[in-house]
Amino acid sequence: MSGVRVLVGTRKGAFVLTSDGKRDKWEVSGPHFAGWEIYHLKGSPADPNRLYASQSSGWFGQVMQRSDDGGKTWEAMGNEFAYDGVPGTHMWYDGTPHPWEFKRVWHLEPSLTDPDTVYAGVEDAALFRSTDGGKRWQELSGLRGHGSGARWQPGAGGMCLHTILLDPKDPRRIFIAISAAGAFRTDDGGQTWRPVNRGLKSQGIPDPDAEVGHCVHRIAMHPSRPDVLFMQKHWDVMRSDDSGDSWHEVSGDLPTDFGFPIDVHAHEPETIYVVPITSDSHHFPPEGKLRVYRSRTGGNEWEPLSKGLPQKDCYVNVLRDAMAVDSLDPCGVYFGTTGGQVYASASAGDKWAPIVRDLPAVLSVEVQTLA
């Protein structure tokens, strides 16, 4: 019987939530790595029992964990992330040059075909890859070295590489996004990169349509149509129909177009989800009502999804990596909040129910659909 495994990273550990295909009764295991920040954990599409987790601490730094049994047991892997060559500098908050310093792994993206290959997006922004199951990590330094790296500047949350999208139709094409540098694409397996931010407009930077400097919060694609990308920017929900070469706004009738996560329905490439957040200075839902918004038209026309979600006195946030979908039918949608709730919808967003209510602040949510 089919089932789902929801992988939840929190401020104080990881949790694994499992259910059968009905998705109404759940088992909760955890906390794994109790007391540590788990920015992200994700399973290999090529081997669902192979999981990778980023474990970090302000005291003891970065640890990488791997499970080969679906999260029952874990083994610490290599945690050395050395920038390639002389790292150089990026721009600091005050505009001065600042040396590149590794701080943590924000996002892990396992290869679509090889369980031993996994990409890691790190702060200060760079992309690393392991091809031996996480023992050793090598930087794909063409990204930082493409020319604009010295002008990248951290957002308030740090200069993190938080999004990695692997093109299922072209193994040499990868999209990444950095706060606050923008989106970049490689077409040669990571050797060379170019910014793909044309069409983005950001009032918070000196040149609103600059080549780099945009605070991209998240990018999503449907695997059947990797040339079409959806982006939640600091402000604005954006869409590209040409692999990021150009973007246009599809915020449409959203109550606010600020937010963090964005995701695509597993079976409907034009159905997308966002969680509008009041503003960059008010990181909570408008009017204290937690609502997911769904567009069935690829943007512009949005409907609020609120059934089962708190509609008064709710002041949580939903972070950029904290939304995911399963591939069952109907599509399941999941998200976690900074208040420690993980909500699930087994009806593509029509109705919601909490799986858990009182976890530590949720940093990331991923879902595995199990055969």
């Binding site: 109790a34 302000g58 005291w59 003891f60 730094g61 970065q62 640890v63 945690n79 050395e80 050395a82």
Partner: protein
């Protein structure tokens, strides 16, 4: 025999009890003790001092014999009582909330 007491999170990570014992050739120093600790428990590499830089992580402290040794040079001899195994060498996570 050098006795090293680890903080809770590093004990869990290394799957060891509160105190581990290490054979370290004299003279025992911060560097030689940490080298022996990381050799015996490779999972601790990078968690107490940085890879490459070998600098103590900012929120890690080293105590022994009621002294803060955190700022001692890495090759300075540790107190005799630590070298003799009479007193433990403590790796401590700095106090902080949250």
């Amino acid at each position: 025999m050098i006795r090293v007491v680890l903080p809770q999170h590093l004990r869990t990570l290394a799957r060891v009890p509160e105190e581990v014992q290490l054979e370290v050739a004299p003279p025992a120093t911060l560097r030689s003790v940490l080298d022996a600790l990381e050799a015996g428990y490779p999972v601790l590499r990078g968690t107490i001092r940085g890879h490459g830089t070998q600098q103590r992580r900012p929120f890690v402290r080293f105590f022994a014999c009621e002294q803060d040794l955190s700022h001692e040079p890495p090759d300075a001899p540790l107190p005799d009582a630590v070298a003799a195994g009479a007193e433990p060498f403590l790796v401590v996570g700095a106090m902080a909330g949250g």
